[in-house]
């Protein structure tokens, strides 16, 4: 061990402390191994806290007809059939048990009159399925898991930024980064690492995501040789705030439509009846986002380029009970009383379906000892995620990844060797912005990246536009070699941004390269030059992998759904509760 870094050692290192990371930490600790948890921010502040609408699980409390098979069908259809059906099956079967578990750990949900967990309707779910508490379900989930985790014997490392996975030969040996509070480098020595680092919405300017969502885990996995999958699939949530400019992109929960909210264009027309006569305002997110986009393009947008979302007919008392934080958010930040006036909304980047390719049951990536769960992992949601499926994803696959990581380390003999050369290489990369020759402002490069993504990798894409976008990203990667930061390593956002920008540029390249190849429209990937689905592409997932220092793009066959499950996805989703 060198003296220029601190060292901490665990059997399993969990990177990320949102729903998936916390659930993985609890599961790994239950497996009887030592567990370290790394939080990018303070504990309990991870992006899960922002989740609003609910947790999708087929409890059948409100609609007894609901069951895991219907949830399976809805999720496969929502993902346009490029999901890994094995993940979807595990997910739909296990989600109810995971929700009850939260309740057993002290979590509290809204109730039915007879005292069971209440469930609300949501886009493209056949039945009322989302377990929720008002519009702050994510906060309830993270607080419940946090309070469970701290009593599970795990070690919590807050405000630590990890920038590189360390390997011993082919297998994982730990991770390297720095502690913001002390400004010291740190090596975590671990036999297994679980990535639960969330998504990368910060590639885009208009996003519901926080500063943390820069895709560190996905980029580190890629740099460590793991395969990334479905990177072209980026979700626009149909309803983000639009005005005033400072709030642009902040989420307006789908629960507004779940509770009966109606989208209208500038002419007052309920336009979703035209785009999806069956599911209407509760159509899947890709369809609703595209419909709003089309209305704006046709000149029927609101003053700031969106649509009106009206819930005022629900009545003030109900709105404040079921959607309290929406009321507060518009009242405080936009001077709008949603009990009286409609909200102005437009699509905002919300989620990434793609990410690190994992084995369905275990979360094992293609790198031995490296696991992934939650938004950073690919496969469950296919080409489009249904609302509410993310929170259940976190707890179902967080648990599995933690369990399997614990199981894996029991078969690992000896402590993996830490190669100081790898750590030293990363140290030099990290310190480069402090040195004299750098001249690029990381914030400026980030803003320019966001402009490229908005122009070339937005809702509507074309082959030419994507190729131009890729060229621009490659040029930004060259400029990012010369980023500059002042100050020290102690709590230095500008310096932190330098590594974030490099991670984001890697993921942007993957998005463009995969999007160029997928010559069809499917789910969130809408190509104006290939407006229809192509059955041949429906058999393939795009894969990005690092080979000889460059990004190579491949395809992998989508796992074929066996006949007994295939019958569950026939027909189309009919949302029973649409008004």
């Amino acid at each position: 061990m060198a003296d220029w870094y601190d060292e901490r050692q665990y059997d399993v290192l969990i990177v990320g402390a949102g729903g998936a990371g916390l659930r993985a930490a609890i599961a790994a600790a239950d497996g009887g191994v030592s567990v370290g948890l790394v939080c990018k921010s303070l504990l309990g502040k991870a992006h899960t806290v922002m989740a609003e609408g609910g947790i999708a699980a087929a409890l059948g409390n409100v609609d007894p007809e609901d069951n895991w098979e219907v949830h399976f069908g809805d999720t496969m259809r929502g993902g346009q059939m490029i999901n890994d059906y094995r993940m979807v099956e595990i997910f739909a079967r296990e989600a109810p048990e995971r929700v009850y578990e939260l309740e057993h750990w002290g979590g509290l949900f809204d109730r039915t009159p007879d005292g069971r967990i209440l469930q609300r309707p949501f886009g493209a779910h056949s039945y009322r399925r989302l377990c929720h508490v008002g519009d702050r379900t994510g906060l309830e989930m993270i607080r419940t898991l946090q309070d469970k985790a701290i009593h599970s014997g795990i070690d919590v490392n807050m405000e630590v930024t990890l920038t590189r996975l360390l390997k011993d030969g082919d297998r994982i040996a730990g991770a390297f980064g720095y502690i913001r509070e002390t400004g010291r480098f740190v090596v975590f020595r671990a036999k297994a690492v679980v990535l639960a680092t969330g998504g990368w919405g910060k590639l885009y300017k208009v996003t519901s995501n926080s500063w943390e969502c820069t895709g560190d885990g996905c980029a580190m996995a890629y740099e460590a040789g793991a395969e990334l999958m479905d990177m072209e699939m980026v979700q626009f949530h149909p309803t983000g705030m639009v005005w005033p400019p400072g709030v642009r992109g902040i989420l307006v929960t789908e629960a507004v439509r779940g509770e009966g909210g109606i989208l209208r264009n500038s002419e007052g027309e309920r336009f979703m009846e035209r785009y999806d006569p069956v599911k209407k305002d509760l159509s899947s997110r890709d369809v609703v986002a595209r419909s709003i986009y089309k209305e704006v393009q046709a000149g029927r947008g609101t003053p700031h380029g969106g649509a009106w979302l009206d819930i005022s007919h629900l009545g003030a008392a109900n709105i404040k009970k079921k959607l309290p934080s929406m009321w507060e958010q518009f009242h405080k930040l936009a001077d709008i009383d949603i009990t009286k006036s409609p909200m102005e909304v437009a699509p905002t980047i919300h989620y990434v379906m793609g990410g690190v390719r994992v084995e369905a049951g275990t979360g094992q990536t293609t790198v031995p000892g490296l696991f992934a769960a939650g938004e950073v992992a690919a496969g469950l949601h296919g080409a489009n995620r249904l609302g509410g499926n993310s929170l259940s994803d976190l707890i179902v696959f967080g648990k599995r990844a933690g369990e399997h990581a614990a199981h894996y380390v029991k078969g690992v003999s000896g402590v993996p060797r830490i190669d100081d050369a790898q750590a030293d290489e990363e140290r030099r990369l990290l310190r480069r912005p402090f040195e004299a020759e750098g001249r690029e402002n990381p914030y400026t490069v980030h803003e320019e990246l966001q402009a490229v993504m908005a122009e070339h990798a937005g809702i509507a894409r074309t082959g030419d536009g994507l190729r131009q976008g890729l060229d621009k990203v490659l040029a930004l990667q060259v400029r990012a070699e010369h980023l500059h930061a002042g100050g020290s390593m102690l709590f230095n956002p500008g310096w932190h941004e330098c590594r974030d920008v490099r991670f984001m540029l890697t993921l942007a390249e993957a998005i463009f390269r995969c999007a160029i190849e997928r010559a069809e429209s499917r789910g969130s990937h809408w190509r104006l030059d290939f407006p229809d689905q192509n059955p041949e592409w429906g058999k393939k997932n795009m894969v990005a992998v690092r080979e000889h220092g460059r990004m190579a793009i491949r395809t992998r066959a989508v796992p074929q759904v066996p006949p007994e499950l295939a019958k569950l996805v026939q027909g189309q989703t009919v949302v029973k509760s649409v008004r």
Binding site: M50, G106, A334
Partner: protein
């Protein structure tokens, strides 16, 4: 709209001072937008915490013109163009600029015995709890852990009481556990001892700054004080509980 003047604290545990920044106006701007503008255009080393920018995570607490508030929820236009001063919250040790060491709160939380259902309930899968029993706890569960209540609590702020009193945040946390219909533990010994509930003299300053509008004193602290008083000063009830086994039903 004219340019907006900000005076932002810059420094660390060794000391520091206010630095003036002039930020161009933007419609609907909040104080956190200005901090981000300063980072991107003037000085990337300005340290602050933030995450959601929508008043849901409780990270961006600061003292704005002397008042403990969330930077993401404080509109610049409410100050009518006057200079805006932004300082770190005072009650916790300063790390750098607007970032303080809040780790004490996490240590306190770990000292609180966690939610513990009965063995029978732990075996059951789906629980029945009436809406009214659950809904009264939602207020406590809304807490986003911004620690503004801790910042303004005079026991912690003026009397260095972090070794005597857990502070309002953890009274809310304990109230949520104590009043949970399925919890079996009693935490009044902790409240009377290390939790230090007796130090709170109900000035309600914590309620005034809570961005979630939690009635911390009325709904959490006062009922907990009553329970603590019952358990520690009413020997008859203490005996009943000892031999009764189950947690007795309470009025509050």
């Amino acid at each position: 709209m004219a340019d907006q003047i900000f005076h932002v604290f810059r420094g660390d545990a060794k000391g520091g001072d206010l630095t003036e920044y002039i930020v161009p106006p933007m419609e609907g701007m909040v104080v956190l937008d200005a901090i981000h503008y300063i980072q991107a255009h003037f000085d990337g080393t300005l340290a602050c915490r933030w995450n959601c920018k929508a008043a849901k995570c409780g990270s961006c607490s600061a003292e704005i013109n002397g008042k403990p508030r969330l930077m993401c929820k404080t509109r610049v236009d409410e100050f009518g163009g006057a200079p805006i001063t932004v300082r770190p919250i005072k009650v916790f040790p300063l790390l750098k600029d607007l970032v303080t060491d809040v780790s004490w709160n996490y240590r306190v939380n770990k000292e609180i015995p966690p939610f513990t259902p009965s063995a029978e309930d732990a075996r059951a899968q789906a629980w029945r709890m009436t809406p009214v029993d659950v809904e009264r706890l939602f207020e406590f569960r809304k807490c986003i852990e911004c620690f503004l209540c801790q910042d303004v609590c005079h026991v912690l702020r003026e009397h260095g009481g972090t070794n005597r009193y857990y502070g309002p945040r953890f009274m809310v946390r304990i109230a949520a556990l104590e009043m949970h219909p399925k919890d079996t533990l009693t935490r009044t010994d902790l409240l009377a001892g290390k939790g230090g509930i007796g130090y709170c003299n109900i000035t309600k300053c914590c309620e005034e700054v809570c961005p979630e509008g939690i009635h911390i004193t009325d709904n959490a602290i006062i009922p907990l004080k009553e329970r603590t008083a019952d358990d520690h000063f009413d020997p008859w009830r203490a005996l009943l509980r000892r031999f009764g086994g189950r947690k007795e039903p309470r009025g509050t």
